[in-house]
């Protein structure tokens, strides 16, 4: 065994990017060895260099500005980097294949999907007829029903999960020895994510391929990989088998990653607090489609209420209705007993002062042409009566400090901040009017895991200190567990389950909640293995899997 050459060797790889601000060392001398049929995960947050590593293997680094300036990558003992281009091309698609994040962008929008799958075979010398037949067979294998007809369909006619299945079919078409999967499930719902991971695992076993998985999600890594490297700022800080690393992390960064979501929740009793907001039998239509039907919920003073659901569940629609960004079709929303759609001018202003929002996209949440000071002061410039202009400066300094930023940051512009810092600014703005309710619509979803943890702690602290109620909309169940007082689970526009966090997590009643909980990978390989098996049994073997595939 020792004499055998490993499938993939990365030897002290260094990748630099030239930026106007100087050289950015994206990858700083990492080494990796992957055996035939092995599965390895590189875990890291954004900017860690994990995707750059994958691009380097595939020769996909944009050059300039990026270039590999040291080390080597060997595939089956042959150096990819010093290979002639023509020879490299013969390798890609046939022996090394890649599945990307965001299949919607990575499929060519103007060609039929079947053609795109068959293209791999044709590039590598298969005759057209055979290529088409194998493309149809592959589509069938990855769970696209009615493959012969769907061969001619275009990418936009598929759902996100199906597009990723097509990408996988394309990658596995020639049974490559190595499959590189770069964040293959990041934009997908958890239930779909579980199916895609299962599909990758199956195909990997069928074809004996090795897998190199790039991910930020510890749960996904635990689900599918056997060995793992934790990457941070271009370097591997910890390597080992997944069991060793996850159960007994040695490096402080790995420990921080694993702890990011396990912060404890302060016990606050809000069950008998005053009801601030009451949503009664609200339905909302988009044209002829009913996005939300007969939803009722209550938000109490100083409570954290989480609404959990996958895409299309209507959770953001209901948030927008509460924020008066969207009209409701029927039902009512009452703030302190008064219907918010029947308020007078002054009462409406009061409602706008009472309810604020923090949105998902940290890059879109702040006007790029306004200074942070102007952003923080915008609420006071709209609600003139709240604060006299002479006090704006002092109050904005206080707000900045309360979210962990400094007075010196007030003169800067949003582009000078990281995603997490921008969300802090957005939170400071939401606090400016001393609101009672803050609606957080996927407020941490776009952030790195360690940053998510920091923002969640900040929100908890603010809640305790300022007595606000939080309506927290998210797709991420694991986030909710240690944060929410009560949880509402939504599916296809309806509430399927609600209750205290303890009850929903330890004793879920609705099948969908159970499925959500089961689909959500946890960063513990042993537990994840058990859960996977349990989920298979629960979904009734193949039949259930096919039912899920149709939904994906």
């Amino acid at each position: 065994m020792l004499s055998k050459t490993p499938l993939l060797e990365i030897d002290n790889l260094v990748v630099d990017f030239e930026t106007p601000g100087g050289t950015f060392n994206a990858v700083r001398g990492i080494s990796l060895c992957l055996e035939q049929g092995g599965s390895h995960a590189i875990i890291g947050e954004s900017g860690s260099g994990k995707s750059v590593t994958a691009s380097a293997i595939m020769s996909l680094i944009d050059s300039p500005p990026g270039h590999v300036c040291g080390g080597d990558i060997r595939f089956q003992g042959r150096s990819i980097l010093s290979m002639p281009r023509a020879e490299r091309r013969r390798l890609y698609g046939r022996h090394i294949a890649m599945v990307f994040q965001d299949p919607a962008a990575h499929l060519n929008p103007v060609y039929p999907v079947g053609w795109q799958i068959a293209e791999v075979c044709r590039i590598h010398g298969r005759p057209a007829g055979e290529a088409k037949r194998s493309a149809i067979a592959l589509m069938d294998r990855v769970g696209i029903g009615d493959a012969a007809r769907r061969y001619h369909a275009f990418p936009h006619q598929f759902s996100g999960g199906q597009r990723q299945r097509i990408m996988i079919a394309m990658a596995m078409a020639l049974r490559p020895e190595l499959l590189i999967a770069d964040e293959p499930t990041t934009a997908l719902d958890v239930t779909v994510q579980a199916q895609i991971l299962e599909l990758i695992r199956e195909l990997q076993q069928e074809n004996g391929s090795a897998l190199l998985l790039i991910t930020h999600d510890l749960g996904v890594a635990a689900d599918i990989a056997r060995t793992v490297s934790v990457m941070r700022r271009g370097e591997f800080v910890e390597e080992g088998t997944i069991a060793d690393v996850f159960v007994a992390p040695r490096h402080s960064y790995t420990q921080k990653l694993l702890e990011a979501r396990t912060s404890s929740r302060p016990q606050v009793t809000t069950a008998d607090a005053e009801v601030l907001l009451e949503v009664k039998d609200v339905s909302i239509d988009y044209g002829s489609v009913r996005a939300v039907s007969d939803v009722s919920l209550q938000l109490r003073h100083n409570e954290v209420l989480c609404v959990v659901g996958e895409s299309g569940s209507g959770k953001s629609t209901i948030a927008n209705a509460i924020l008066r960004l969207r009209e409701i079709t029927s039902g009512s929303i009452c703030y302190r007993g008064a219907d918010i759609h029947k308020l007078g001018r002054a009462e409406l202003d009061a409602y706008h002062r009472a309810v604020q929002a923090v949105f998902q996209d940290p890059f879109g949440s702040l006007n790029p042409r306004m200074s942070v000071f102007d952003i923080i002061c915008e609420p006071w410039s709209i609600q003139r009566s709240v604060l006299p202009k002479s006090e704006w400066r002092q109050r904005s300094v206080e707000l900045m400090e309360s979210v962990g930023l400094t007075a010196g940051d007030l003169g800067k512009y949003p582009s000078e901040f990281s995603g997490g810092q921008r969300q802090r600014i957005a939170i400071a703005r939401a606090l400016a009017l001393q609101s009672e309710i803050i609606v957080c619509d996927e407020a941490v979803s776009a952030l790195d895991m360690t940053v998510q943890g920091q923002i969640i702690s900040l929100l908890q602290e603010i809640r305790a200190r300022m007595g606000v109620a939080l309506l927290f909309i998210t797709h991420d169940l694991t986030l909710v567990r240690n944060f929410a007082d009560r949880v509402i689970v939504m599916k296809a526009g309806e509430i399927v389950e609600q209750g205290s966090t303890e009850d929903v997590f330890s004793n879920p009643k609705h099948g969908y909640t159970k499925m959500l909980l089961a689909a959500c990978p946890v960063p513990d390989p042993v537990v994840q293995q058990e859960r996977r098996n349990a989920a298979k049994v629960a979904s009734g073997g193949n039949q259930g899997a096919h039912a899920l595939a149709r939904g994906a």
Binding site: M58, R90, G93, F100, V110
Partner: protein, 310 residues
């Protein structure tokens, strides 16, 4: 598909009606319409007869309905100067302009795809640095001036081609070459910039990861996507070609519709002007419908029967 074409055609019809309304309003609301239709030297008696004959004393909306229905029946009135039906004169001149436009657009499309793709393969490379400034120049130089300079250099100084008139194929060389410059410049810029973005698009990376050659990525994956903006802008340029044709035909003495139009304006031959304008407008709208159909065929995301995605 048929419904889509019909809908687009109806929209164009609506636009033609708007144009008519503007024309009508212009002629009726800015004074005595006989001033527009009759030569300035017409006697008061002739004006009164003309007004009575054409119902200029009726209410405006009645006049407008009569006007449109006359046009719909193909009655564009008499050309005062040529003493023949105006539409006949216009239709006679039409094929020349159409031929000119056809050659120009074909050459511009083919050349712009080739030049734009080559420039996009190496942005800021030598070829790109040569081509890009040139395209901006040809797109911003006034056609009438380029035509004069070209006549001076190639016809007068070098004597390679005749200065004006038509008859032999040689007569077409200079007009087509001059007319092609503006659309060529604009379209090459469009192809270049959309190719640059297509080549850095994620699907281009997918193709590379499949082991596709550079040529395949450029000509199969990127080009097809870049054709979409090209077609849209080509439509705008085709409309602009009407303007260019007027200039070129005037300078080179081509008896096309542009020359007829300008002459009719100089001669105050209003019926003929309107006939020419409407004919040109119909062609422009027909071209736009054709482009929409082409767009829909090239971009599967456009739903036939729905709005074209621009």
């Amino acid at each position: 598909m048929a419904r889509y074409v019909l809908r687009r055609a109806l929209q164009s019809l609506y636009a033609v009606l708007m144009l008519l309304l503007i024309v009508f309003a212009m002629t009726r609301l800015t004074g005595d319409p006989t001033n527009q239709y009759l030569p300035l030297s017409a006697s008061p008696q002739a004006r009164a007869d003309f007004a009575a004959l054409h119902g200029f004393n009726d209410p405006y909306y009645v006049q407008f309905i009569h006007y449109v229905s006359d046009l719909a029946h193909g009655d564009f009135g008499q050309s005062l100067f040529k003493q023949r039906p105006a539409m006949e004169v216009a239709l006679e001149a039409f094929p020349i302009t159409l031929t000119l436009a056809f050659f120009t657009m074909s050459i511009a499309l083919v050349l712009s795809i080739v030049l734009g793709s080559l420039a996009a393969m190496r942005p800021n490379g030598l070829f790109d640095r040569m081509i890009s400034p040139l395209t901006i120049f040809t797109a911003s130089a006034p056609t009438f001036w380029v035509a004069l300079v070209a006549i001076f250099v190639f016809a007068m100084m070098l004597g390679w081609v005749p200065t004006s008139g038509m008859g032999t194929p040689v007569h077409w060389i200079l007009p087509v070459c001059v007319l092609v410059l503006t659309p060529l410049g604009v379209l090459t810029q469009v192809v270049r910039s959309s190719m640059v973005s297509s080549l850095s698009a994620p699907y281009a990376k997918t193709a590379l990861a499949k082991g596709a050659s550079d040529a395949r990525v450029v000509f199969v994956h990127a080009l097809r996507n870049s054709l979409l903006p090209l077609i849209t802008i080509a439509g705008v340029q085709a409309t602009g070609l009407v303007n260019g044709a007027v200039v070129i035909e005037t300078i080179f003495g081509f008896p096309g519709i542009g020359k007829v139009m300008i002459d009719s304006i100089r001669d105050r031959d209003f019926s003929l002007t309107i006939a020419c304008i409407l004919l040109a407008a119909v062609v422009v709208y027909a071209m736009n419908v054709a482009i929409d159909i082409m767009y829909a065929r090239l971009d599967p995301r456009v739903q036939i029967g729905g709005e074209a995605r621009r």
